[in-house]
């Protein structure tokens, strides 16, 4: 008998079927990867199991008994805990206080027993081999560390089933290793783990079994050994994937963008590079290598302390984003919710925001002109949206990203910086974004692309600059652009210089 059986589960939101007749089993002691494009229904299904939503149809059978999971607390009581993609720590409390939030041990007087709490947390973290101090304030931890704490917290409920929603979407490769080790240890303790991810490499690394969902439907569950990479992609998108990365014939022209000796204290040192017309320059490196910081400095968001930036051979001063935009630079930022979009407003509002100047006549925005440009952009960039008035918050990750790209393409840039352009979006949308980047480069413009996904860097870039600990540790081109070389440069440490 299976630990958890999902039987004919269906769920609709406002008449739209998000899940249709899903059935599969989860066993104890297995790592079960659930994969699918955005909007495939993974999160909805997991939220049903974790008690955040209720299914309209079907049933959930836990250890042979049909159960109704009414709330997350109910789920925890039944041994099911979910670690959400968006972590929710209380920043000014300690690790221990976060772990025991809402169930603090009490002394006889009814006060919080801090000693007990810290001791229990320490024991828990030690058992799980997580090197974090219970006394540390949550805000001092990195995203990866916060995630480990959240997992520890979930385990501390004596959970049998741990659901991890895209746990690796925001952490570096080295941290992914740590996470995988932890997941393997939990598996050895006979826990069931459901692991949601977009990244094929790590899926093949951790999975025992893989379940694929597509458009709310169940496509199949296979043992890892039965699947190849291409086979899995095919299951996900329902079509053969020929070439995600379409190669351009790159004949780069003259240098149009140059950076010399760019420095920012504590962030990066002496960064110099150039980009030529029609070229895609990849920037690779581990988390914290300073990639995002370099991009933000070039774009004037957090200007550098020293160094020069040249466009078409002429020195320019970029102290604010406004300067950058005037020099035809655009940045598609890493964190689209934080930096890219105004989630409180409509798709159209977001697309036209940085180019309103183009629609102004006698101090007034000409709505007709603006709407025309916005509608064209929605069409050109294939944003799947009802109309320009649709709130941008209701779009899928991939479509939100397309909105950000459309917004910056409207500014008609000559130099396009993309920071993790495909993070957290599905393969279909990824392919479209790669096409857009290639199209842009073909027009003789310059692209700078930061990415943590090596296949993406390798597939898209003409040259790759590698950063490590704020230093430029490599500039690769041609055959040098491979996983080995990039990782070698990315792991060079300051001492060995």
């Amino acid at each position: 008998m299976s630990y958890l059986q999902i039987k004919n589960v269906g769920k609709s939101f406002f008449g739209v079927e998000a899940l249709k007749d899903i059935s599969f089993n989860i066993e104890l002691g297995e790592i079960h990867v659930v994969i699918g494009e955005n909007g495939a229904g993974k999160s909805t299904l997991m939220k049903i199991i974790a008690g955040l939503y209720h299914q309209d149809k079907g049933e959930i059978i836990l250890k042979g008994e049909q159960v109704q999971i009414n709330s997350p607390i109910d789920a925890i009581g039944k041994g099911i805990a979910m670690i959400h993609q968006e972590l929710m720590p209380v920043p000014y409390l300690t690790v221990a206080e976060n772990v025991f939030l809402g169930r603090e041990p009490k002394t006889k007087l009814g006060l919080v027993d801090r000693k007990q709490m810290f001791a229990d947390t320490k024991k828990l973290l030690d058992e799980m081999k997580i090197p974090i101090q219970p006394e540390a304030e949550m805000r001092t931890l990195s995203v990866a560390q916060i995630q480990l704490v959240e997992i520890a917290k979930a385990v501390s409920y004596n959970s049998e089933l741990l659901i991890m929603d895209e746990p690796t979407s925001a952490i570096s490769d080295r941290e992914v290793d740590n996470l995988c080790d932890l997941v393997f240890r939990l598996k050895a303790q006979n826990k069931a783990i459901v692991f949601i991810s977009h990244k094929l490499d790590e899926i093949f690394r951790v999975a025992d079994r893989i379940t694929v969902l597509r458009d709310g439907e169940y496509i199949g569950t296979k043992n890892k050994e039965e699947l190849t990479r291409d086979g899995l992609i095919q299951m996900m998108i329902g079509r053969e994937l020929k070439d995600v990365y379409e190669k351009r014939d790159c004949k780069p022209g003259k240098v149009i963008f140059e950076v010399e000796n760019l420095c920012k204290a504590g962030k990066f040192d002496n960064i110099s590079f150039n980009v030529r017309e029609g070229e895609v320059l990849g920037i690779a490196g581990l988390m914290g290598a300073g990639r995002t910081e370099v991009c933000e400095a070039i774009f004037g968001l957090n200007p550098a302390d020293s160094g020069t930036i040249k466009i078409d051979g002429k020195k320019v001063s970029i102290r604010s984003t406004k300067d950058a935009i005037e020099h035809k630079i655009a940045l598609v930022p890493e964190d689209r919710k934080e930096l890219g979009l105004n989630l409180k407003d409509s798709t159209g509002f977001n697309i036209s925001l940085s180019v309103l100047k183009n629609f102004v006549e006698r101090g007034m925005i000409r709505k007709d002109k603006e709407n025309k440009a916005v509608d064209e952009a929605i069409e050109t960039f294939n944003v799947k949206v009802q109309n320009r008035k649709t709130p941008v918050v209701s779009l899928s990750g991939g479509n939100q990203q397309k909105v950000v790209i459309a917004k910056w393409m409207l500014s008609n840039p000559n130099i396009l910086i993309l920071d993790e352009p495909t993070r957290g979006i599905d393969i279909g949308a990824k392919t479209e974004i790669y096409k857009l980047i290639n199209q842009f480069a073909k027009e003789g413009k310059a692209v700078i692309m930061v990415s943590s996904e090596l296949p993406e860097v390798i597939g898209m870039s003409d040259r790759v600059m590698v950063l490590s600990e704020g230093m430029k540790t490599g500039m690769l081109s041609g055959d040098e652009i491979n996983q080995m070389e990039i990782m070698k440069c990315a792991t060079i440490q300051r001492e060995s210089f």
């Binding site: 008449g15 604010s320 984003t321 930096l339 409180k344 509002f349 100047k357 102004v360 007034m364």
Partner: protein, 320 residues
């Protein structure tokens, strides 16, 4: 079938929240009209409009600040400073400057106070609540100091026309209110600055990344809010033919109330001028209607509080 029902419900609740405030206002009017026909008389309607004009003008500036994610607690005090300074310039016994200059000086004082608010918030990085509370205290003190605590009265008739004059049988403050509403709506809906105000309140970091000078946008809203506060101080002085340094105490709360009842989100990024005007009308109508029904002003305060509560609850529901 069930699905269709659900869809209908979702549509209804959304529409309700969008137009809810108009319905609420209509229902209110019908209720008062039914209980006393005097309520709908032309004289009374004009009376309501004149009564709300001060609060509604303050609410226009307040709304602009709130949309950026800020708040301005200083409007009541700024109003008083502008009032006493302008009034002292044009006392009928010895007018020192032409009326227009007195008005401009008053408005300029409002702009300067707003400018300080803006500087504290942007360059100083202080929370708007604190910055404007500081200004509230200082401006009140300045007003008292300027008049040594005494009211300034006996003003030129040119000046008092602004507050108590009539054009075509309608009080001048109503025209002024209409003008301010149109200007504010124009700025917010038709200009780039207006769009930026929403962008800054919606997501400040994203606004900065879009090339928007966030500091300048915030400065503009605080200055505008200060200018309107000063303007209200001037019209009020003109209406009362006297400026007292204690005038306007607590007015900031009524302005915030009108803004919130009108659906402006305290988190910023959301707010509509016409709805805020209705918000001010609702507050004014309630006190007027209850006055006509001889309800004590103590009860009126309780009712006002409850109305704000309901308005915000509806807004919360809509956000979900």
């Amino acid at each position: 079938m069930e699905m269709i029902k659900k869809m209908k419900m979702s549509v209804d609740s959304k529409e309700m929240s969008q137009y809810g405030i108009y319905f609420a206002f209509l229902i209110l009017c019908v209720l008062f009209a039914a209980s006393n026909p005097v309520f709908l008389s032309l004289g009374n309607i004009i009376n309501i409009l004149r009564q709300i004009s001060f609060n509604a003008i303050l609410a226009m500036g307040m709304t602009m600040v709130i949309i950026t994610g800020g708040i301005d607690l200083s409007v009541g005090s700024v109003l008083a400073v502008a009032a006493v300074v302008s009034a002292s310039l044009i006392q009928a016994s010895h007018p020192m400057v032409p009326t227009i200059v007195a008005i401009l000086v008053g408005v300029l004082i409002g702009a300067v106070c707003g400018c300080f608010n803006g500087v504290f918030v942007t360059k100083g990085g202080l929370p708007a609540f604190i910055s404007t509370m500081v200004m509230m205290t200082i401006a009140r003190g300045a007003a008292q100091l300027f008049t040594k605590g005494r009211p300034v009265s006996g003003l030129t008739s040119d000046f008092t026309f602004l507050g108590s004059g009539f054009i075509l049988g309608i009080p001048v403050p109503i025209y002024l209110l209409a003008g301010i509403v149109i200007i504010t709506a124009f700025i917010l809906n038709k200009t780039r600055t207006g769009r930026w105000i929403y962008a800054v309140g919606g997501n400040e970091t994203a606004a900065r990344a879009s090339g928007i000078n966030v500091h300048r946008v915030k400065m503009v809203t605080y200055i505008y809010c200060g200018m309107l506060a000063a303007f209200v101080g001037i019209i009020m002085t003109a209406r009362l033919n006297s400026a007292s340094p204690v005038v306007g105490e607590g007015y900031e709360l009524d302005a915030i109330a009108a803004s919130v009842i009108g659906g402006t989100s305290m988190e910023g990024g959301k707010g509509k001028i016409i709805s805020v005007l209705i918000g001010a009308l609702i507050i004014g109508t309630i006190s007027n209607g209850l006055d006509i029904l001889n309800v004590s002003s103590y009860w009126q305060q309780i009712v006002k509080g409850l109305i704000i509560l309901v308005a915000v609850l509806i807004d919360r529901k809509a956000a979900k």
